[in-house]
């Protein structure tokens, strides 16, 4: 009997897997909003003038298996070699339990930044472990929860020293032995800030002439220097000292803190995080207690909850860009949370003894290698070392490097006559023998190794580190696995519920997209490996480049920026370089609407520009008259305009093209912030609207997971005239300076975005945008009446997100956005974005990935909250002792005496809460003021954990 083919395409990734609502659900949702077709809704939402003329043309969609095969074929073009290049990147063994339970686990990688502490206690604990580890190893009082990479951390440290130093000098000293990429990024940053650099050997430091100095430890050529006397000289002159230190080396070496350093930075890559062709990796920063308020980035602190139990949270938030704007310590927002968690788990997994043993092993092998080489008559330039030696190879440099390549080993080419060799955790004895062979030796690795150090006695570490019990857990894998599971269970990530954070685009991070990330062909490539070993990467980057150009209407892309904020900085720098090249370097005024994200003004400050804010009209749109007046007033000096499209208020402003034209008429360039690109892909292109530069948040629109607060990826697209001014890299012998340590930023997570684009194709990507808009309008419609929707566009529609006005609740019932956010946790939800872009409101962005049932569950929860607010306003519920003020409710609440004027049932099961799979936040509401007044940023003593458990 012939069968009737089923009308169902199993392998349609975009419509079956990525997009949430089914066709039937879409029809129901459209009917609710009052439309009979999706096209009409889109036409009513996006003004015709800004629609792109031609549909997207980036090819047909691939099935998941076809995409995997396609990416696999590219990956196989990468050649995995034994890497001994060093220079800040080292081979490392990612412990399998950490690989599978953290890096490959959606409970960790799909979480958002822990701004809602009650539902983030797991990763907050892991990040506190990270801070404790950094603080211990560097011998400094306080550490942050990671920065983007070592080079940008060093540049941030320079800016921090300038803010905090008492010296009046305007110059900064850079140790010549810093890694070249660190010097290059520092140089780039110093130039825009008007800081002069002195680059020399540490012994040449003139402490009277600088506000600060940075040293590399061990140096890039392997040497070890005690910087104690430099630190003393700096302090005598009111200047500050910074050490860039390798954390593995610090297990054997005297810490920067013990030398008197004020700030330490570095990379924790070699704590179990793959090389990944440059990233992502977690950089660290620590400093003395005195400087803590000048430190950029996120800092986890210990506070208490409403029961007085210890609870962790992000502290000192007010120093950050979202509040301080152009006065912020830095523009950084995204950290490298997922990678910091991995590094901290590596330390928990190995403990202090394990780390020391790894470091001793590396050192011992290097020592034996060096001795063998000396016997062969090889000239080694550094007498002291930890894991790196530099060889004077003379005329044989090229031949020796080629010979090593033939044996599958990458060595570092230094200048024209030297060779660098860095050993690491993965180096085996046979590698040492191979190296001897390359230099003409035939020796075998000695059966009994010598155990003395090639480290000066004064530099040997005597102080303890990682003394906290968390680093002394039983080493059984059973214990480790359960520890990671317990922490993951405390957190609410996308694998549990929708995270409707406005402006964050918490869409699906599909498993297929994630799979290539941990392939060794992507993971084990050194960022400075010869180009012919990274042809797979080159293919991927080139294809992404082409496709992103088509999506955005730009002509060239740079993958270098490691976050959206860094993309902004890189984009503005590109504009600045362009002006300078045209003898317009005096242009330094940047027009930014008041509604802009706080990173915009903070980024403008970083390139040395003056921020001139532009007002909004009552609808939340850019006030065009004010804009025109200010552009005219600053015509001579106008460098650029930064706008967000659709606006941060979630509206497709019709005047965007006019804003771009006015800017161009006055000699400025237009930066269009791509944070809201998820409302545009396939329907409108920033390049067509008049933008000259945009960054894309690949971790929003293009599916890279948020990782609990990083990694991010913020590549920038530019029009043709700016292409030559994009960030370059010293390793590529570019003239333009870099913004990141690695030429292609966090290259190893690019397969995520690549897979997404390949699997969706032109039509799938465009449909995703349409459904993002449908979902937002559906939520807005369902909540209409109970909540006022702020800022709707033409025809009363919102874009891909909507703002709920909860301010009236404060007057009627004393209920704040905080209360609503915490009450949503009882329903098993993460709150929408709070108090941004309008104080006292909530911004909801459902994304296209949420099916109707999840949207309904969220709307039901929100409607029930509105009912509770009404009950308080009507006097039916107590104004202080009610489910909103007491939220979130924990198991502790349930088992204790119950004397509240509402039932346990109401507390625990508000609308939307799941009966069987009830999620309980780990702690009650966290006391923010207590935490900031009593700052504790390292692991509290173990008794504190016991109290919490009791």
């Amino acid at each position: 009997m012939p069968f009737q083919p089923v009308d169902y395409d199993t392998y349609d990734f975009a419509n079956r897997r990525h997009i949430g609502p089914s066709p039937e659900e879409m029809a129901e949702m459209l009917a609710t909003i009052g439309y009979d077709s999706l096209d009409t809704l889109i036409e009513d939402t996006i003004p015709k003038a800004i629609r792109q003329k031609e549909p997207l043309d980036i090819g047909a969609p691939m099935t998941e298996i076809a995409a995997i095969n396609h990416i696999r074929a590219a990956a196989e073009k990468n050649k995995v070699m034994t890497t001994m290049i060093g220079q800040g990147y080292y081979g490392t063994v990612t412990p399998a339990p950490i690989l599978r339970n953290i890096l490959e686990n959606p409970a960790w990688y799909t979480a958002y930044t822990p701004y809602q502490p009650e539902i983030s206690q797991g990763r907050l604990e892991a990040l506190l472990n990270f801070q404790t580890m950094v603080s211990d190893l560097t011998g400094l009082d306080i550490a942050n929860a990671s920065l983007l990479d070592e080079a940008t951390a060093a540049a941030e440290a320079m800016a921090m020293a300038e803010r905090a130093s008492k010296s009046k000098a305007r110059s900064f000293f850079v140790d010549k032995n810093c890694h070249p990429q660190n010097i290059a990024v520092i140089r780039n940053r110093a130039e825009t800030l008007g800081i002069g650099l002195v680059i020399a050997e540490p012994a040449k430091l003139d402490a009277t002439a600088v506000f600060g100095a940075v040293f590399q430890y061990p140096g890039t050529y392997g040497g070890l220097t005690d910087f104690t006397s430099q630190m003393e000289a700096l302090h005598d002159n009111g200047a500050l000292g910074i050490v860039i230190a390798d954390p593995l080396a610090l297990t054997l070496l005297k810490s920067p803190g013990e030398m008197g350093a004020d700030i330490a930075v570095g990379s924790t890559q070699r704590f179990g995080v793959p090389l990944g062709y440059g990233g992502p990796h977690a950089a660290y920063m620590s400093c003395t207690d005195k400087l803590k308020r000048a430190m950029p980035g996120r800092i986890i602190g210990v506070s208490v909850d409403s029961r007085g139990n210890p609870a962790m949270r992000l502290s000192l938030q007010t120093r950050e860009q979202h509040i301080r704007r152009d006065k912020a310590n830095s523009n950084v927002c995204t950290a490298q949370a997922l990678l910091a968690v991995m590094a901290s788990m590596y330390a928990v997994y190995h403990g202090p003894k394990g780390l020391k043993s790894i470091a001793q092993g590396v050192h011992q092998k290097t020592r034996i290698l060096a001795e063998g080489l000396k016997k062969l008559g090889v000239e080694i330039l550094n007498e002291d070392f930890f894991d790196t030696i530099t060889i004077q190879a003379g005329a044989f440099q090229k031949a020796l490097i080629s010979k090593a390549l033939e044996k599958g080993i990458n060595l570092r080419k230094i200048g024209r006559d030297r060779i660098g060799i860095s050993l690491d955790e993965v180096t085996v004895e046979a590698d040492v023998e191979t190296l001897w062979g390359i230099f003409g030796g035939e020796d075998h690795y000695p059966a009994e190794a010598k155990l003395d150090f090639a480290i000066p006695p004064a530099l040997l570490r005597e102080s303890d580190f990682l003394t906290h019990p968390i680093f002394h857990m039983n080493r059984a894998e059973a214990e480790m696995t359960r520890y990671m599971r317990r922490l993951a269970d405390r957190d609410l990530a996308l694998d549990r519920a929708m995270i409707p954070l406005g402006s964050c685009t918490m869409k699906l991070n599909a498993t297929t997209e994630m799979i290539p990330v941990t392939w060794p062909e992507f993971g084990n490539i050194h960022p400075f490996a010869p180009a012919d070993q990274a042809e797979g990467y080159a293919q991927m980057i080139a294809d992404l480049d082409t496709k992103l150009c088509q999506i955005t209407g730009y002509d060239a892309f740079s993958m270098q920026p490691n976050s959206g904020a860094q993309g902004e900085y890189a984009g503005l720098l590109t504009i600045r370089n362009y002006h300078v090249a045209r003898n317009q370097g005096h242009r330094n005024v940047c027009l930014i609407p008041m509604s802009a994200h706080g990173t915009n003004p903070a980024s403008a400050m970083m390139v040395g520009w003056k921020v001139v804010p532009v007002g909004s009209d009552d609808e939340g749109n850019i006030d065009l008259d004010d804009f025109r007046a200010k552009a005219e007033a600053h015509s001579e000096n106008l460098a650029g305009t930064m706008i967000t499209y659709p606006s941060t208020h979630g509206v497709f402003e019709t005047i965007v093209q006019e804003v771009c034209e006015i800017t161009h008429d006055h000699g400025g360039q237009v930066y269009i912030d791509g944070a809201n690109m998820n409302a545009m892909v396939g329907l409108s292109r920033p390049g067509d609207l008049g933008g000259d530069v945009s960054h894309l948040n690949l971790h929003k629109t293009f599916c890279i997971p948020h990782g609990g607060g990083g990694p991010g990826m913020g590549p920038i697209g530019v029009k043709k005239h700016l292409a030559q001014h994009l960030p370059g890299h010293p390793e590529l012998e570019d003239i333009v300076g870099p913004v990141s340590a690695a030429p292609f930023g966090s290259a190893s997570i690019l397969p995520v975005s690549w897979a997404y684009i390949l699997m969706c194709g032109s039509e799938g990507l465009t449909q995703a945008t349409r459904i993002a808009i449908l979902n937002a309008n559906y939520v807005a419609k369902r909540l209409e009446g109970a909540y006022d929707i702020l800022f709707t566009g033409q025809n009363g529609r919102v874009a891909h997100e909507c703002i709920l006005d909860t301010r009236p609740f404060a007057d009627s019932a004393g209920v704040t956005v905080d209360d609503i956010a915490k009450r949503l946790m009882d329903s098993g939800f993460h709150a929408p974005t709070m108090s941004w872009p309008v104080a006292g409101t909530l911004m909801v962005e459902p994304t296209e990935s949420e099916p109707k049932a999840e949207l309904d569950r969220f709307c039901d929860a929100m409607l029930s909250i509105a009912d509770e607010v009404k009950a308080i306003a009507d006097g039916q519920m107590d104004a202080d002792n009610n489910p909103l003020k007491n939220a979130p409710h924990t198991l502790e609440d349930m088992v204790g005496d119950w004397d509240r004027p509402y039932s346990r049932e109401q507390a625990m099961y508000p609308a939307g809460a799941r009966r069987v799979d009830k999620y309980f936040p780990a702690v009650n509401r966290v006391d923010n003021a207590f935490g900031d007044r009593n700052l504790v940023c390292t692991c509290p003593p173990m008794e504190a954990y016991d109290v919490a458990a009791e």
Binding site: Q317, T318, R319, I323, K327, N928, A929
Partner: protein, 121 residues
Amino acid sequence: MSTYYSEEHEWLTIEGDIATLGITAHAAEQLGEVVFVEQKDEGDTFAKTDEIGVIESVKAASEIYAPVDGEIVEVNGALEGNPAALNDDPEGEAWIYKIKIADAAQLEELMDLDGYKKLIG
């Protein structure tokens, strides 16, 4: 003894040529729970509108701008250990500086209590 108010929500109580400076109760309420006060040092001189400190609360960080030209003669050190005092008694115990005013004529540009009340509505 008379008290003046600035548009930046500071109060200034004059006794002889020394004035005590703090933030108003209205400002403290707007800031919410204060967690840290960054103060300048005794002996520092400043001009009107200079930034002479920062008050951090849980939700905001706000600069203190000098309402007149002058010199700091005393810093209220108690605020370092007890920033919450700025919420409890901003116009009394939780004064921030005692300053020596350089040009008394500048006081004319400030408001009296009635004027300030009008400003905050």
